[in-house]
Symmetry: C2
Subunit: 264 residues, 2 copies
């Protein structure tokens, strides 16, 4: 019988290395391969694709207990994108076969992928051509991560076998129900939506006017092929996303504008 | 003669409200419309699309001199995306016709748009359906912003007249040469490229191991239709970029994977 090499799986997140979603995810991933955890020491939600180019990034060994006691784990004082960059270029001695980011506490669907550190970590590794998943558990219910972790394992196993198209991240959102109640999996697109902030005006400790974020999320998309729709019907949503932001269809359109007339 | 309403133009950046690139940009934009400046108080480079959802965001009036003395200007203790969200939802009393972010000190081409606060500010306003430009001056030469500002005015005038397709940002990079030496303008796509970090290991003030970002940029793209190519030939590069990250071509491909078999 041929002994296949166990894949190397890097697990990270944006909720911080002590978040229960990461623990559950990493524990389940040990069934698929050798797991290394490199994650922010503290919560880094909504940091988007920020990196720490000013100052330094600290990296300290982190000890887990239970099923992760023997796993290499490193806590980073930095952003999720910092974690992946450090992992690839300084900490790991070989290239991972898969990067899994999560399980995020709360959904990362539609326009929210722009702000998400969970997704940015996966994007960062996909830029390097590594198959990458971002996994989020939608708000609601008991917020237990076992069903999401089981779904992540199913998808990760498929990805390790079939490989993703280059530069693609699978952005996975799991409805907040027990595993047995999940209706299935659907490949979706990100719904068109936006936030409308209603900032609350206040005064800070130094008596200066300041604002606190409050907002309302508007789904502007009635499509039945979106991430939000799939999750609302009890399905796991799997959206392929990319880091090439070029609006390719627009390049031709804008090329027809007269750019030659340099002064007018 | 019909008196047309002067457009409202919001100017922001990520280098901070005192950056010379912003001053030059805003000064030139006063020739096209009514300008309001809402920008980070301090430098916010490489923050990507981060927003300040924890804690508060401070907003303080800022006084410019010279040609901007009569302009409303507000400095924000927050990220570029915070600036645009606050502007839209709390500070401005009407919707701007155009948002211009920059002029960034240094290029924002290819994969670097992921990390750029300059671009994120423009992206944030494009999500709200507002025509948006990000303007960057490529490294090199004397780093004077007048030529870039003149180019921004030419492009802004076209955009105010023709309007952009919805959800599109024009990501503009200007070569570091005098206005008269610019070869023209080209509509481009983002070049495929990536950073390879070579982190420098060090020790921080508390004697803990830490890492400092160093890296090398690799352009992997030999196309002559890219932003990097255009700028290298002395052209202003105009790349239409979008915030919908769905890899639409991939939705169909991944849909052919067997997702029905929920356990395997």
């Amino acid at each position: 019988m041929i002994q296949r090499r166990r894949p190397l799986i890097l697990v990270t997140n944006d909720d911080g290395i002590d978040a229960p979603g990461l623990y559950e995810l990493a524990t389940h991933m040990t069934g698929l391969g050798d797991v290394v955890i490199i994650a922010p020491r503290e919560e880094q939600s909504a940091v988007g694709h920020a990196i720490t180019i000013r100052g330094s990034v600290r990296a300290l060994p982190h000890a887990f207990d239970g099923p992760l006691a023997s796993i290499q784990a490193i806590a980073i004082d930095g952003t999720p994108a910092d974690c992946v960059k450090l992992a690839m270029n300084s900490i790991l001695h070989k290239r991972p076969d898969l990067v899994v980011s999560g399980i995020n506490r709360g959904s990362n669907m539609s326009i929210n992928v722009m702000y998400s550190g969970t997704v940015s970590a996966a994007t960062e590794s996909s830029i390097r051509g590594i198959d990458s998943l971002a996994v989020s558990l939608v708000e609601g219910g008991r917020q237990k991560y076992d069903a999401s972790a089981q779904c992540a394992v199913i998808i990760a196993r498929k990805v390790l076998r079939s490989r993703l198209p280059r530069g693609i991240v699978l952005n996975i959102n799991v409805p907040p129900v027990p595993f047995g109640a999940i209706q299935g999996m659907r490949v979706t697109r990100l719904a068109r939506a936006r936030w409308e902030e209603q900032f609350v005006e206040g005064v800070d400790a130094s008596n200066q006017p300041c604002y606190f974020y409050r907002g309302k999320f508007y789904n502007l998309d009635e499509g039945t092929d979106t991430d939000i729709y799939a999750v609302s019907r009890g399905y796991v949503s799997i959206s392929p996303i990319q880091h090439d932001l070029t609006a390719h269809g627009c390049v031709t359109v804008l090329g027809t504008w007269r750019w030659s007339e340099f002064a007018e």
